[in-house]
């Protein structure tokens, strides 16, 4: 039944690593955990992290994932790797050797990407696992603390999760506290010779819009206890850790597919391994009708760069781009047409999704631009802290409207959560159907 042993995997690994190095990949060492299906679904539910704090949403994720595989909505799980040094990857014991070989080749690509893409420079791969472990321990401690308890911790987590993506989207230096900002601006104003800062309101909090909602709340709320702040900071840390992956999903998967294909061909596999590999590979890179398959799109774009500019240009691209800049630079009309991409929207009057533009001469640029609006975190609305009223302690949030209106019921729910964390009144401004909207 099982056509592999750990020993055989080790031997193949040697060949795979050799081949990867030959192509110029440079990855963190990889630890493979060989686990069964149930554990694999479990690992997926906790985003691949070997230790993770408890929350019911992960139980929900488990059930959803399990159901999707059970109903055959997806093939068997085969790859999962996390950004750490060493990288932890999972091999599902039920899979045959050919799948393992593809997974292992695929993982080299991911780990190389984690190590070199510029979006990941602040993810602290050396220490991330230790920090997740410590976070899980602390959450557990709070849950078991009789003066706190699981329910209260859950309440904070529920609320913090609602705004976990409301953090800065580019790699940034350490967040500056209000006091540091104040010192910074005082200096700027003192040295200002242009007169630009004549009317600058030094009393305002925040001094410039703050995109890190969780951090702002922990810093300025007058109602949070220390443990609550810690719980919020745990969620914030995790978001910072995952944001780069959200920004580079298409590139990262494309890069891994691009290289597993090269390595697998390089291994000169016998037909009984090569044919199942081809089958799986084609599954992975097939277009998903009605969606965009990131594996497919990323793979196609790297192939195109290689054809036009050579392999070296691919390595440059994987270092400097995120999905948005990658697509903007490399997705042209020809490729749009080949992928048969189209944009669509929900027509309220007819209550049906309708195609707006297709990738023809007139439409393709707009299709691409619409795609750019939905990749990375661009599908998540940007909300920032605009002002904190010192007297009433009311928190004023601003949604940066980019033409797309918010889903109002959802926004209302989220604001309830924000108010729950903040403990004082919360207001938010946005635009709805071209009119100003106050929540």
């Amino acid at each position: 039944m099982k056509d592999w042993t750990v020993k055989s995997l080790q031997e193949w690994d040697k060949k795979i690593c050799e081949s990867g190095r030959k192509f110029g990949l440079d990855w963190y060492p990889i630890d493979y955990e060989i686990i069964n299906y149930h554990e694999m679904i479990g690992a997926m539910a906790y985003l691949g992290l070997p230790t993770h704090y408890r929350h019911w949403s992960f139980g929900k994720l488990f059930e959803q994932t399990h159901t999707r595989y059970n109903l055959g909505m997806e093939g068997l799980p085969y790859e999962m790797i996390i950004n750490s040094n060493p990288s932890i990857a999972y091999l599902m014991a039920e899979n045959p050797l050919s799948t393992h070989l593809l997974t292992m080749s695929h993982c080299l690509g991911h780990s190389d990407f984690f190590k070199h893409n510029r979006m990941f420079i602040n993810t602290d791969a050396d220490n991330s696992l230790v920090r997740f472990k410590s976070a899980a321990k602390r959450i557990n401690k709070y849950m078991e603390d009789p003066s706190i308890g699981a329910e209260k911790v859950e309440r904070i987590l529920d609320a913090a999760h609602a705004i976990k993506y409301q953090i800065p989207r580019t790699p940034e230096r350490k967040r500056r506290t209000h006091k540091e900002m104040l010192d910074f601006y005082k200096e700027v104003i003192r040295d200002d010779k242009t007169g630009k800062y004549k009317d600058f309101d030094i009393e305002r909090i925040p001094l410039r819009p703050d995109y890190n909602l969780l951090a702002f709340i922990t810093e300025h709320s007058r109602n949070l206890e220390e443990w609550e702040k810690d719980v919020i900071s745990i969620v914030e840390y995790e978001s910072h850790y995952f944001v780069p992956q959200a920004h580079t999903k298409i590139m990262n998967e494309g890069w891994a597919v691009f290289f597993h294909e090269k390595i697998m061909h390089d291994l000169n596999l016998p037909p009984k391994l090569h044919i199942p590999f081809l089958k799986l590979h084609n599954q992975v890179v097939r277009p998903h009708i009605g969606r965009v398959n990131p594996y497919h799109l990323g793979y196609k774009l790297f192939k195109k760069i290689e054809e036009e500019q050579g392999l070296e240009a691919c390595f440059v691209a994987r270092e400097v781009h995120d999905d948005v800049s990658f697509i903007r630079k490399h997705l042209d009309q020809k490729m749009c047409q080949e992928l048969n991409l189209f944009s669509y929207s929900f027509k309220k009057t007819r209550k049906v999704n309708t195609i707006d533009e297709i990738s023809d001469k007139e439409g393709w640029a707009s299709v691409r631009n619409n795609l750019l609006k939905t990749v990375g975190l661009n599908s998540v609305p940007v909300v920032c802290v605009d002002n904190l009223d010192r007297k009433s302690h009311t928190l004023y949030l601003q949604h940066e409207h980019d033409g797309r209106d918010l889903d109002i019921p959802y926004a209302n729910k989220v604001l309830e959560y924000v108010a729950d964390l903040w403990g004082d009144e919360v207001k938010m401004y946005s635009t709805l159907e071209d009119e100003p909207w106050e929540f």
Partner: protein, 394 residues
């Protein structure tokens, strides 16, 4: 060089979170049921009719963009030929309009029938801990088949079991070589093969209840008040049906005089005229005497009115209620009062709402088996119900 670790399955790490998730779903269902019990669509339904309960989901809310024309998304069409204006996906099924729901809110719908609904509702109440004396059961003996025995009367002979034993014995004999299946010899039944169906007497708690719903249908009982009364009655009926095997419902409507009516008429027909509550109770007593003797029937009476009984009828009504209280398991007097009523009454009777009507006078009678209550919105129905059966004496 990579490292490979094969590890034996340890504890199921997601078990606790899965359980918590499930618990949250259950809770959401229960919460939704409380919202749903007073919904028009389920009241008056009977039997196995499926009811869709919208469960406000275990959702994780985040800021998202609305699903509208400004929010364009991109997808691949594969090999399909497409052109602008093509419609994709199926038309969304029209959601049942529900009050209070903003458009776009996604709701899980759980389908249950009335039985299950009752389970969910009443499981919440911890039934066994409720006041037991409100439920008395007539013990009844029934016979039920259970297993087989060696001795019995001919009609209860189980041919199948008997045959099975013979076959078993025959096979054993063939194995042992004492019987040759190829030969001419018959393999006869033996006395030990005979098996009879066994009947066992079971003492069953069977029970019957007569439920009297009485309502004031005079002019002051507006549509809204009747609706509230109906919601309450429906819930009570479901509950008692859940509890007793045999439930008979008697509807009595009254103005100055009372009559027994059909369910349909009870809820839909209104009459003008004054209010004499005693007439309804009196008719109830008559019916009990004729048809539902308290020694074999559990009697429940529920009265709904708006508290505007004619003052000169009050003493008689009280006397009747007292008599009823001696016969019935539970006598419940409910006033449906809306905000407007309070203002009107203040004008008529002064600022203290308890200085008028039966309400005040019932206080001395109120106890374990006679309860008075007031409701003014449908949200109060469930709490009232819990109070009625939860042991609170007010």
């Amino acid at each position: 060089m990579s490292v490979f670790r094969e590890h034996k399955s340890i504890a199921d790490r997601s078990a606790a979170d899965r359980q918590r998730h499930k618990h949250l779903i259950d809770r959401a269902i229960k919460d939704s049921i409380h919202d749903v019990i007073a919904e028009e669509s389920i009241i008056g339904q009977s039997g196995n009719k499926k009811i869709k309960i919208p469960v406000r989901g275990i959702k994780e809310y985040q800021f998202i963009y609305g699903n509208n024309e400004k929010n364009k998304r991109v997808a691949s069409a594969g090999d399909h030929d497409i052109k602008p204006g093509d419609q994709i996906g199926k038309k969304k099924p029209q959601q049942r309009p529900r009050t209070g729901d903003d458009e776009g809110e996604e709701i899980y719908e759980v389908e249950v029938n009335l039985e299950e609904l009752a389970e969910y509702l009443f499981a919440d109440l911890n039934l066994p801990d409720l006041e037991k004396k409100k439920f008395k059961f007539v013990k009844e003996k029934t016979l039920k088949r259970k297993g087989f025995r060696k001795k019995g009367i001919q009609p209860r002979l189980s041919k199948r079991e008997t045959l099975k034993r013979r076959i078993r014995r025959k096979n054993a004999a063939i194995k042992a070589g004492s019987y040759d299946p190829e030969g001419d010899e018959r393999f006869p039944f033996h006395k030990d093969d005979l098996k009879y169906k066994n009947l066992k007497a079971r003492v069953k708690e069977s029970s019957s209840a007569a439920v009297f719903f009485m309502m004031d249908v005079s002019g002051s009982m507006g549509k809204n008040k009747k609706y509230l009364a109906r919601a309450l009655f429906f819930l009570l009926y479901q509950f008692l049906r859940h509890r007793y095997e045999n439930v008979e419902v008697i509807f009595i409507s009254h103005t100055v005089s009372a009559k027994e009516v059909s369910e349909q008429d009870f809820f839909t027909r209104g009459e003008s005229g004054g209010t004499k509550m005693s007439s309804a109770v009196e008719l109830g007593l008559e019916i009990i005497e004729k048809r539902y003797h308290p020694s074999s029937w559990n009697i429940y009476t529920f009265y709904c009115g708006d508290g505007e009984n004619w003052p000169d009828d009050d003493p008689k009504a009280l006397e009747m209620l007292e008599r009823l209280n001696e016969l019935a398991q539970l006598v419940c007097y409910t006033e449906v009062v809306t905000a407007g009523d309070h203002r009107r009454r203040e004008f008529l009777f002064g600022s203290d709402p308890s200085t008028y009507g039966l309400w005040d006078r019932l206080e001395q009678l109120a106890g374990d088996s006679l309860k008075r209550s007031r409701i003014s919105t449908k949200d109060e129905i469930w709490p009232l119900f819990k109070r009625l059966f939860g042991g609170d004496t007010k």
